[in-house]
Symmetry: C2
Subunit: 332 residues, 2 copies
């Protein structure tokens, strides 16, 4: 591998000039520039990002910390993050935290020792300690969904509460008379917000009762269990709003097992807009978050932070959209 000194020698100038040429910092004569260009080509020279990083500059790398890339919500997000990263010349390190603070802390240390430029947290467990650590390390970071407790930081999220309202509205319009809700873990802000959106919208109806709200774990099996419980409590229910798509899939499975027709007897609406919703039978109505856009945005924000072209921390709230499909289409 050729080094900057090889190039300097071949081009007949000093390394400083090469460096200036490479970084477009300082003056370089037009002729010299040409010489350098040729030398670089001839030697097939590629500057070492590692050396650059050691010299105190950017390593052109950031990390994406998420609970689990196997969770269908994250691949699309990761794809978006990586897409914009790569157009800006950045490279993305993938970290699965499983939502464990320990793993996260561990990653932060490793990442720091690798001099990465920043971190995107799509994880739900960003604790105060983590944030302090990041701050002390002076690593830029951006969060998805959840703002750290007290520290200011940019956050990208979607309008979950409005999504909850949207779901209820749609279910009502499609003729539902009694709507249950399967909510996700309440330590997750989005789950909480969706629940609030639901509650706000149904509170006024006389059919409403708190027992229409059942907790799930944001997974398929949790959706199944919660649905069973919900039907047990309220056999006369005719609509289920699940706090996320995986639980909605679970609801579909549970209802199918119980011989309850969807959308004939009960209609189901999910939340997130993951691809999986298109392959269920019936296809799943969902409140879609703009997952790709969120990933792209969060990535762009981080890069701007890294490059110092961004001012204040800010909360970016994106709109959700109703995607009506078979699972809420009542024939009547």
């Amino acid at each position: 591998m050729a080094t900057i000194r090889d190039v300097a020698k071949l081009a007949g100038v000093s390394v400083a000039t090469i460096s200036r040429y490479l970084n477009k910092s300082g003056y370089v004569n037009a002729d010299t520039e040409l010489n350098i260009k040729h030398a670089i080509e001839k030697l097939n020279y590629l500057p070492s990002v590692v050396a650059r990083g050691l010299a105190g500059k950017s390593t052109k790398t950031f990390a994406l910390i998420l609970p689990d890339i196997s969770n269908p919500f994250f691949p699309e997000l990761a794809r978006a993050v990586e897409d914009v990263a790569s157009t800006y010349g950045f490279t993305v390190i993938l970290c699965n935290s499983d939502g464990q603070i320990g793993k996260e802390k561990n990653y932060i240390d490793i990442l720091k020792s690798k001099n990465i430029d920043g971190i995107i947290f799509a994880s739900n467990t960003l604790g105060q300690e983590d944030v302090d650590k990041l701050a002390s390390f002076n690593i830029p970071f951006v969060c998805l969904d959840r703002a750290p407790t007290d520290k200011s930081c940019s956050v990208v999220r979607s309008n979950n509460r409005e999504g909850g309202r949207l779901a209820v509205k749609h279910l009502l319009e499609s003729g539902s008379k009694k709507i249950g809700h399967i909510y996700g873990p309440q330590d997750l802000i989005p789950a909480k917000e969706r629940l609030i959106g639901y509650e706000e919208s149904v509170r006024g109806f006389d059919w409403f009762s708190p027992s229409l709200m059942v907790q799930g774990d944001f997974g398929i099996s949790g959706g199944i269990k919660a649905t069973e419980e919900l039907i047990r409590r309220h056999p006369d229910i005719d609509a289920i709003f699940a706090g996320n798509d995986l639980m909605a899939v679970g609801a579909l499975k549970a209802l199918h097992r119980m011989g309850i027709q969807v959308p004939g007897q009960v209609v189901v609406c999910g939340f997130d807009g993951i691809n999986m919703t298109e392959i269920t039978e019936p296809e799943l109505t969902t409140i879609a978050q703009p997952i790709y856009d969120m990933g792209a945005l969060v990535s762009r924000i981080l890069i701007k932070k890294i490059e110092g072209t961004i001012e204040a921390d800010q909360i970016y709230e994106l709109d959700v959209t109703l995607i009506p499909r078979e699972s809420t289409k009542r024939s009547g």
Copy 2:
């Protein structure tokens, strides 16, 4: 951030001793060792991987190049790769190539400039040029599914041909009388092998005709189109073996739209064993590859190559397993 020199000063020894302590290379006195340990703790010292990398050592980083993390096959693989990477202290860079050679080449350059230790190719488009480049850069790499044309390299794959046979066997045993096959792009070795497995198994039957084989694109929509074509050609078909799960999902969709009962009239079997097969209605029978194991293995192999504890290049072929589900369960 404390440096090795800070630690040296505090511990009252030279940097060389600290380095020896850190790398467990050479002699360090027990007392000195204790001093160093304390100094490190006190200063909260973390060795810089970047500096280490520049000094010619490992950057403890490798890349996973795959077509698209959004493709449901890859998240699980990526997860496995990252899991074993992280237990060995490695960090994984995620690269989406979209199967484009240009992007791949680009990544290789960038990765080289970052001094990464190795690459896992889960991409199908590893060209000769890429391989040459890797060889000239002296970057260890391991491939998934596909061996590069002439260069020797370790490959992890599963027994696709046997999987094809297994599928046909299962479909026959479940009472199928005429089995069609939707095969994937023939430039992908696994698709080809599965087709061969199918062909070998059905060639002998009098119902077999080459028109029972239709090409798909390994995607859902391709599966839909191919299924429509297949049914048009052979309305009397009673079983479909799709070359991968996504196309099998497409087949399910297409058949449902055409009002054809699964498994009542036509049974369907997929290939891969992605999670999605559990959420279709009916649940999809599939020939499962040990995706997680493959990822874990390929990751382990690469790390061994990097650490130099592996000898020759080798092909690792893993077994596939039939997972019988609703979609091939004939009531009769």
